[in-house]
Amino acid sequence: MQPQPNHDESVRQDFVTDLRAFLTDEIFSKIVPYYEKNVEPEFVKEQSRKPKDKSEVRDLMLKDKSYQSWSLLQRLSQQMMFTSVIDTVERTLNDLIDRSKLHTSLGTLELDNKVEVPRYLTAYDIHQQPGGYHTEKIEDDIAPGVVYDISLPIYSRNSMGDENDLLSQAIIGHMQKHIKMPEPESILDMGCAIGNSTLPFAKIFPSAEIHGIDVASPCLRYAHARANALGVTAHFSQQNAEQTKFEDATFDLITSCLLLHETSHDALPKIIYETYRLLKPGGWMIHLDVYPFHRETIEPLYDFLKDWEVTNNNENFSGALRNMNLQQIFEDAGFSKETIEFTSAEAIAQYTKGYTGDFYLKLPIYLAQKPKTA
């Protein structure tokens, strides 16, 4: 389902991949030593102590032109990624839309124009993707989904796998190793976007019914077409995870990948309560997201750097999420206290297409089980 870039578009996109690699390997790698050698000693000289928290580090770093140059370049690389990809999508869009309608026999697609896109997704474009994931410019639009799909390999230096599914592969790996549960018969992936994290569940549990929901209709259209192109059966519907149309106790397993940190203070508890309602007794939820809390022991510099995406890449809620008491929210929703866990799913990512090497990833996951007696 992906478009074919022409010659110049293709090498323009390659440049962004290489720029991002250069910024990480050659520039960002020098930030910590630079801070320790230049920025921190200046502070110590004046205050006779080290910066005590990330806000003091922030005050220092936002005044530092070298750090700010890297930060600006990193932000620009994200913008360049999208513009270089949008050229291809814009040029080929009519053809892509036609192709998206060719094969639709597997699974279902249910759109509902009464579903409102919540303010936390319309106030700003998350990840700086122009127009966000929901904007439609043309009948049967799929553009935001295509843009997302072909940006991910550039973003990740081709390390997310051929089908961009590294995240849910990590969840599946964790489930198989650490969670005792019968094979799920029904699975819901919340905030599924283009379904790249939904489809692995259909492959690993072929007899299960797989649903993906999202508020963004162009992504869902693309998700359904993409699933058909890949020969996988899944059901996609336009619904808000805060309040869905599914009946109580419908699913054995409910997942999300990088959904919660794109929501809000109000929406997150609603999503957790809705997850609880939709789970069958004994069912599990697994949300893969950002580290859920600020660790006291973390070095102030790393604490500061961890929040880079918040202000520089339109991830506005991800910083606030870390300060929420998720344990309490999960308990209040009804999840069994002893099953609530904040841990990591492990994955080995591999660079491809001209980059070599693999790296070990620890992806934060939040787990909980609905009581069997609920």
């Binding site: 110049d8 250069f22 520039i27 020098k30 600006l72 690389s77 814009e90 700003y124 843009v147």
Partner: protein
């Protein structure tokens, strides 16, 4: 038949200032885009050279259908890294202070 659509290229959201004002930030954006275009031109030239080494005349289609070999991909990557190293040398030097 669908009509031609124009997609947005600017993301909605806060635009922090990084260096000495918006115009300097904009200059950085322009320089990086210009660098990208230099890289694109050089890759296109490279494609034409590789194709012309194989046959005497080539078409625009030949250029768009060109699939670089693994060797060509690696060579281009190295050249891009060198280009970036040259362009970003002042920043690298500052960080190595």
């Amino acid at each position: 038949m669908n009509s031609k659509v124009e997609l947005s290229r600017i993301a909605k959201g806060k635009k922090p200032i990084y260096l000495d004002g918006r115009s300097i930030d904009n200059l950085m954006a322009m320089i990086m885009t210009l660098t990208q275009e230099v890289s694109v031109l050089r890759d296109r030239l490279d494609t034409i050279e590789v194709l012309l080494a194989e046959k005497e005349t080539i078409s625009l289609e030949d250029i768009d259908n060109f699939v670089p070999s693994d060797d060509v991909v690696m060579q281009r990557k190295e050249k891009r890294q060198l280009l970036l190293k040259r362009i970003l040398l002042p920043l690298e030097k500052d960080l190595e202070k």
